[in-house]
Subunit: 112 residues, 2 copies
DNA sequence: GATACTCCCATCGATAGACGATGGGAACGC
DNA sequence: GCGTTCCCATCGTCTATCGATGGGAGTATC
């Protein structure tokens, strides 16, 4: 024990926002969302499926996204998620709040 | 229930870094640290004492900070915390990692 | 037509971190 | 004396991430 394991994967509290953002581009299935986050972030952000699926459940429960079964690009059974209008609003809200906080943190980091 | 209460206060996982950053300026007591974060961030970041003291305990345990009792500016009994050399290193590490992740998140937010 | 590999779903248990509530004590102003 | 501000700290709850685990359905390989 002790030895630090790899990178912290991601910042708690930001996953929902990231997923909403990906879905703002169009429908996607869980596996694809995880891949996408990983690739766009150039491997810095790693979303495990055990973080992702609970997140998607939350988003469904809150009505930010809806889901429908279909076939993936590879002809496999997949569940496609997409944003609801409420989800779009939520994305805007979360982005603003996120930026607000990041700016504040940077202020502390720089200005003392 | 339901109605979201006020702002999310702060991003989980960033508190330790913020505290280390404050202490990099010089010794300070718990109450002062909380005030300082609040004021420098212009009230955006709100650190409750029930978040702060456990954080300070963690930092002590890890050897990033040390503590000594003394008298505050207002002549009250106070515990002053200050960075250890290990704490300075840790601050550098955490800042780098934080920036890495923030940049990655921004990439996702912007580039798709 | 078996085997292996990739894709895609999902849950469970452990762990950690932030927060509200709570409690106490000591200095200071009135 | 009494209230307010300052300063300490813990406990219980809640939420979220993560590792481990399990399964099933296509495709490719031999």
């Amino acid at each position: 024990m002790g030895t630090r394991s790899a990178p912290p994967d991601l910042l708690p509290g930001t996953l929902d926002m990231l997923v909403l953002r990906i879905l703002a581009r169009g429908r996607a299935h869980g596996y694809g969302i995880a891949q996408h986050i990983k690739s766009v972030s150039e491997d810095v952000l790693q979303v495990g499926e055990s973080s992702l699926y609970p997140a998607l459940q939350r988003l469904l429960l809150n009505g930010w996204v809806k889901a429908e079964w279909g076939a993936s690009e590879n002809n496999r059974r997949a569940r496609f998620y997409s944003l609801t209008p409420a989800g779009r609003k939520q994305l805007v809200t979360e982005r603003e709040e996120f930026q607000r906080i990041i700016v504040a943190i940077q202020k502390v980091l720089e200005n003392a």
